[in-house]
């Protein structure tokens, strides 16, 4: 016993050092396995508040750019409305995802699969390996983990940590995140970020025979569990043939300006739970 105490006193520093490093490695491990660590994240009360105070100051510098982007989005939405106006809704079944919920006696019918909530970006990063965005909405406003986040012009990311008043979003600019995507002509692939410029994303797993032209649009596919389908991701800059596996790499200019993000929409997919449950149960049976 005496020897043991002597040993501890002698190597106290080394033991403390090793203990602290083990704590760090456990924390890194926990975030890598996507379980998340809500206390040490920018969604916690202190860092959320600091970022909010900072955003209150720098908010005004980006107003002009934000106005322009809102104007663009309005124009796009107006155009969409015009398209729907000329549609004969009686003969054409444009209303989709009609589902009954609640008591069958009441027949509550809800038409929309997705609920959009707006949020202000209070912190933003574009130059780390995994980039996070903090927003001023949390569980108090109905935000939960794994909801999709969109901007007026395209995809942004997915909610990873939530606290009562803040949430931090893992942006598409991350090595951890892959988005299921679709080209204009229907070919599917995955969009990843290679970690260089915040303007350039890469689409992989597209077969070589698919004809891709510069300027083609890339959308989210309807396979994605989180993102709603047909949201713009970006436009093609150039393609590159990969000899190894007969696939091609497509470089995409992202439609979202990650550097100047001010407002985002958090999208709740009301069906995602059900879809995931079904897929899990069928995976278990195999």
């Amino acid at each position: 016993m005496r020897n043991f105490i002597f040993f501890i006193r002698r190597f106290f520093n080394l033991l403390l050092f090793l203990a602290l490093e083990v704590v760090c490695i456990v924390m890194i491990q926990r975030t890598e396995t996507m379980q998340g660590n809500d206390i040490v994240s920018s969604a916690n009360a202190v860092s959320g508040l600091v970022y909010k105070k900072q955003n209150d100051v720098v908010y005004y510098f980006g107003l002009r750019k934000m106005n322009d982007s809102l104007q663009n989005e309005n124009a796009r939405l107006r155009q969409l409305v015009e398209q729907y106006k000329s549609l004969d809704t009686l003969s054409d079944s444009m209303v989709f995802s009609k589902t009954q919920i609640g008591d069958t006696a009441k027949h509550i019918v809800r038409f929309s699969e997705y609920v959009y909530r707006n949020a202000r970006v209070i912190n933003n990063s574009t130059n780390a390996t995994d980039n996070y965005i903090t927003i001023n909405r949390g569980t108090a406003h109905g935000i939960y983990k794994n909801m999709a986040v969109l901007s007026g012009t395209g995809v942004v990311g997915r909610v990873e940590h939530v606290s009562r008043n803040f949430a931090s979003i893992l942006s598409v600019l991350s090595a951890k995140q892959r988005v299921s995507a679709r080209l204009k002509n229907g070919a599917y692939g995955l969009v990843i970020w290679e970690g260089n410029s915040h303007k350039v994303l890469t689409m992989i797993d597209v077969p070589q025979q698919v004809n891709v032209k510069k300027g083609d649009s890339v959308f989210t596919s309807n396979y994605s569990l989180y993102f709603p389908p047909d949201v713009l991701i970006g436009t093609v800059i150039k393609t590159e043939q990969v000899k190894k596996n007969a696939m091609q790499h497509i470089y995409i200019r992202s439609s979202t300006d990650f550097y100047n993000l001010q407002y985002v929409y958090v999208v709740e997919n009301k069906m995602s739970e059900e879809k995931k449950q079904l897929e899990d149960s069928s995976a278990k049976k195999q």
Binding site: L16, L20, I28, S42, S47, Q54, D130
Partner: protein
């Protein structure tokens, strides 16, 4: 000023400087979609470098851990910064005693600075620890040794910029002996 108060104040200022200003600046020396990697200068280990000489290793380790965790909380990288800062906190005493002519206990009540160490030893001391910190941090962050050139380029670029900022800090905040009349 009380040495505790002074260091706590410095802790807050350096962490806020790091997360509110330096993390927001995108540094790249030429822009090209697949060219030079984007990097951030991580200046916050400067707090550890400037703690008093006679501080025991366990206190250094704990303050290094606190520093790393606070930066981690802001950048959503739970544990990564802390891992790197704890390592340099552990090695700081050894590096200092190797570089200084006298024993560390003889520098009671002082903190490392260019005045009592001289410019060259101080720069060697800070560069050595910063390089180790950045190398470990970027290794954990990328966690991919297939792309070792990218890792080294990022480390070198970030270390260089960090050292420039540290020199600017030293020039600004070292008190001059001869006050001008």
């Amino acid at each position: 000023m009380n040495v505790y108060l002074k260091n706590i104040l410095r802790f807050c200022i350096i962490v806020l400087l790091q997360v509110l200003i330096l993390d927001k600046i995108t540094l790249r020396w030429w822009s090209n979609p697949s060219g030079f990697p984007v990097f951030i200068p991580y200046v916050y280990p400067l707090f550890l470098l400037l703690l008093p000489f006679e501080m025991p290793v366990w206190a250094l380790l704990l303050s290094g851990f606190a520093l790393g965790i606070s930066v981690d909380a802001f950048t959503n990288t739970a544990g990564m910064h802390a891992c790197a800062t704890v390592l340099i906190a552990y090695w700081r005493t050894n590096v200092l005693s190797a570089l200084l002519p006298r024993k560390l206990t003889e520098y009671a009540g002082q903190q490392p600075s260019t005045k009592n160490m001289g410019w060259m030893p101080f720069l060697v001391y800070s560069t050595f620890l910063i390089v180790i910190h950045h190398l470990l941090f970027f290794t954990i962050e990328l966690w991919n040794l297939s792309n070792i050139g990218h890792l080294l380029l990022k480390t070198v670029a970030s270390t260089f910029t960090t050292m420039l900022l540290i020199i600017v800090y030293l020039l600004l905040f070292t008190r001059q002996d001869s006050s001008r009349a």
